[in-house]
Amino acid sequence: MNKILSFIVLMFVGIFSIAQNKPDAGLIIPKGFTAVKLVEGYGKVRHIAITKQGNIYVKLNKLYQGKGILYFKKDATQKYVLSNSFGNYKGTGIYIKDNYLYTSSDEEVFRYQLNDKGEVINSNAPEKIITGLPNKGEHESKSIVLDNNGNIYVNVGAYSNSCQEKDREKGSMGMKPCPILEEAGGIWQFKASGNNQTEESGTHYATGLRNVVGLDWNTQTNSLFVMQHGRDQLHDIFPDLYDTKQSAELPSECMYELHKGTNCGWPYIYYDHQVNKKIVAPEYGGDGKKSTDEYQNPSIAFPGHLAPNGLLFYTGNKFPSKYNNGAFIAFHGSWNRAPLPQEGYYIAFVPFVNGKPTGQWEVFANGFAGATKTPHGAAHRPCGLAQDAEGALYVTDDTNGAIFKIVYTGK
């Protein structure tokens, strides 16, 4: 009896001390990995870029003390401290390529030259490389990535859920053709060294994408991969065609490989991972079953509404070999999966072999939300991903402004 009692007491002490010490900064990660929280409390920290020296730039979606870009630098004890802040605009995109830091507001893209320490030379005078991108207050973030040929790719999200005549209204049908696609709902390509480029002077690279936040250049396939945020509210808008459970699981969140001219089909279709088909959207005459062969197939599809905000192909060699060239995806976490529990709020991993996903994805890092997995109850919501020269993985959180670092120790 005494043994049982002391076991129970020990168990509680154990649980209590785990809760107190929070190994791995509260994250649940595979064996052999270790996580630490580098900084916290900087608000809406969106995407992230790491310099060769291992210091960190992040883009904020809400100004922190009047600034939209923060620079965290390692001090003598390897602790990250806020060392510089600049840029009076909010936004999401940030990327480093060939001694330039590229950043985006919700309408423009800038670049700042870096010195040989990886630090911005003149934070007050960036070059404005792209301007005049549409921002109508919905899907307004402009994520950016560069290829190895001097081009920059920018997402211009569609300012609509499903291109209905009346956005999100029950029974309202889709506009034919969807006029939004002329200036949004796609990816535009520009010259990284250009000046005041506009959609007209750039290249309309890919279309039929509702909204992309996470995107990355795959150096193995030499092509652009994006994660689309699928449409919302199939049940709310077409209650006769979809029950609440179908609406919670559908449509799939899709990864697409893009080339010039790719059309992914929004708003005319959505993808259903349960039947592996492109389904005609109800706004365009679909009944929940009617499918089509038109438009690009996804590289891989995930359950609905997980909200992929970050995509990173792992090019390091410090993780076990199955991670080499695979994709990490930061799922911000769902809001519209009622009556099912909310999902996401984790980092997923998709193994890639010869430039193709194997189809077997898994949750890599979980536990960001803490006890309450809801959009406003979550302690952290993963958003941006980056990798440093040492092969460590970094994750940002745009709820409580934290940055996590995940390394492989083998222990």
């Binding site: 859920n161 809001w335 809801t374 959009p375």
Partner: protein, 137 residues
């Protein structure tokens, strides 16, 4: 003679007490029906606890949009909302659709529900108030 006076006194007291102590709003039929409308129509965006979704769908907690001017609130339900207005210094990007297909009764019920849920405490919304706003063109 004394006993009837006591009985009369007790009776009067009981009647008076029953009249001053009205049923709490949360136990009324309108509130209960309102919860049903909320679950069916509003919950998917504004969430079960009225907390909304940061950056996308505004919360229904501690905001004058909910507990303030009833006409404005009724009008948002009837006409939807596409303006990008900061609420407590936050912007919300999703458009709200019009819900004019709800009946006056359903709108009165659901607004009474949200004005007295999630920590909110505000007056009830009547069918007549909804009718009056719907009549404005």
């Amino acid at each position: 003679m004394k006993i009837p006076i006591i009985i009369l006194a007790i009776t009067c007291f009981t009647i008076a007490f029953a009249q001053t102590k009205t049923k709490p709003v949360t136990q009324t039929d309108t509130y209960k029906r309102g919860k049903g409308v909320y679950t069916k129509v509003c919950l998917s965006c504004h969430m079960e606890d009225g907390g909304g979704v940061p950056r996308l769908n505004p919360p229904l907690i501690k905001t004058t949009y909910v507990s303030g001017d009833k006409k404005k609130l009724i009008s948002i339900v009837l006409n939807g909302m596409t303006d990008r207005i900061p609420i407590d210094d936050e912007y919300y990007s999703n458009n709200m659709a019009s819900h004019k297909d709800l009946s006056d009764q359903q709108i009165a019920d659901v607004l009474t529900y949200i004005r007295n849920s999630f920590g909110n405490k505000a007056s009830i919304v009547t069918i007549a108030e909804v009718k009056a706003v719907r009549a404005i063109r």
